[in-house]
Amino acid sequence: MKKLINDPKNVVDEAVVGFEAAHGDLVTVSHDPIYIARKDAPVAGKVGLVSGGGSGHEPLHGGFVGFGMLDAAVPGPVFTSPTPDPILAATKAVDGGKGVLHIVKNYTGDVLNFETAADLASAEDIEVRTVIVDDDVAVKDSLYTAGRRGVAGTVLVEKIAGAAAERGDDLDAVAAIATKVNGQVRTMGVALTPCVVPHAGEPSFVLADDEIEIGIGIHGEPGRERIKLEPADAIVDRLLGPILEDLPFASGDEVLLLVNGMGGTPQVELYIVFKHAAEVLAEKGITVTRSLVGNFVTSLEMQGVSISVLKLDEELTGLWDAPVQTAALRWGR
């Protein structure tokens, strides 16, 4: 294992100190328990947004704390959900009197720990709503699985719900917007190489030199099938197919297209993927009116990509365009 770290046990603690040193203009960091809060939190009269989960997916979630997006992010150990304590502390720290929305990716650990934190917050008279993000079409949503996973669509939920909170929507309205975005976004990813969790020291899974994993999860969980490496266009077709069928998307739709790098993918490759994805959508009469390309929801050094398509309407587009000022997403101010 080759990593720029000092001790696997201190990865998150030290990274958070670095984050604070680099972005002290945007955020305040609590070190015990660990959470990252918007500098001006709590914002009185505004619904607070808290998200979190295992670390290793940076910039998610800490990179999205700031004006127009999250009020706080709670990073757990690498690939492990945070416990209820820091979630509760963050929830209390950002409550501006209008209640707090928890945005939770659908993983058993995240769901259970946020659930406990929400119970504890309620006991302290903070109103909490929870929206579970489960945009990953690679997993069948049935009684026989833990349900669809929350993956790159999370960044879209956080941005758009954040904008709704910033414009003054109340807790129910912000939760409704987040639920709506989650309902209209579909994602699927592919891994070319595995990632190495620092404390594990070995790759999370093994792929042969000519193998890729279609439908990968953001912790390296396997997806639909393991196949031989194919040209980028063919891989894009495999990812977009299930995405477009699922909602389903239709001719005439306006969409946001997100091509998300898994952490170790060169940017030229992301744009090659974007090119073909946009072409396929155009062929189907679907218009890409907003786009996002880069590393937003990563899996450490994994090479691979996920494609997300979010069906837009005037409201969502307006909220997407609204100003945002975070370490990893910024425009309009």
Binding site: P77, L112, E115
Partner: protein, 228 residues
Amino acid sequence: MADALGIDWTTDWIRRTAQVVHDHRVELVTLDREIGDGDHGENLDRGFTAVLAKLDTLADDAVPGDALKLVATTLISTVGGASGPLLGTAYLKGAAAVGKDEQLDGAAVVAFLTAARDGVVLRGKAEPGDKTMIDAWTPAVDAAAAAEAEGRSPAEILAAAADAAEKGAEATEPLVARKGRASYLGERAIGHRDPGAQSSSLILRAAADSAAGTGGAGTGGASTGGAA
């Protein structure tokens, strides 16, 4: 009730568990890497290390339920992941079931195990055969109940539970998972043991070993009282 289990057993079990989890850290990480995300051993090691560090905060007159509740809250606040809240809830509900009892007899042990298992089901909604820690806990509860019905001692009941949990963990190998991360694997989970079932069986074996060592003739300063 000479063979009931008191606070000494409880703290011994906790220490033993911390040791066992630490010793099996790599094994549990490996199992979890195969069908999960490779952190289960790390998670539990972190949790029980934290529990150990808090053990001396127990009052001198602490009863088993106090120690079990300490385990519960500490696991909940230090483990994270799926296993933190699940195991934490197990200890929490188990602690509630034994209440303020100073000595746990066979019925109390069965009540503890049953409540613990029910706690996991309450939070995680897994059924037997879903390839989760439930597949260790449920046979353990059943075996414990049977042993208790036969009038066995608490130590024997725990030994029966541990035996059953071990078999249960082993029996997860051919299963497809329907809960937790392993459920994303579909058929590919077949042939791998569930890490949570394995760790639960280790924890229950530690309970039995502690009972064999510290249970019995009311040894230890705290095992003075004891109802029923």
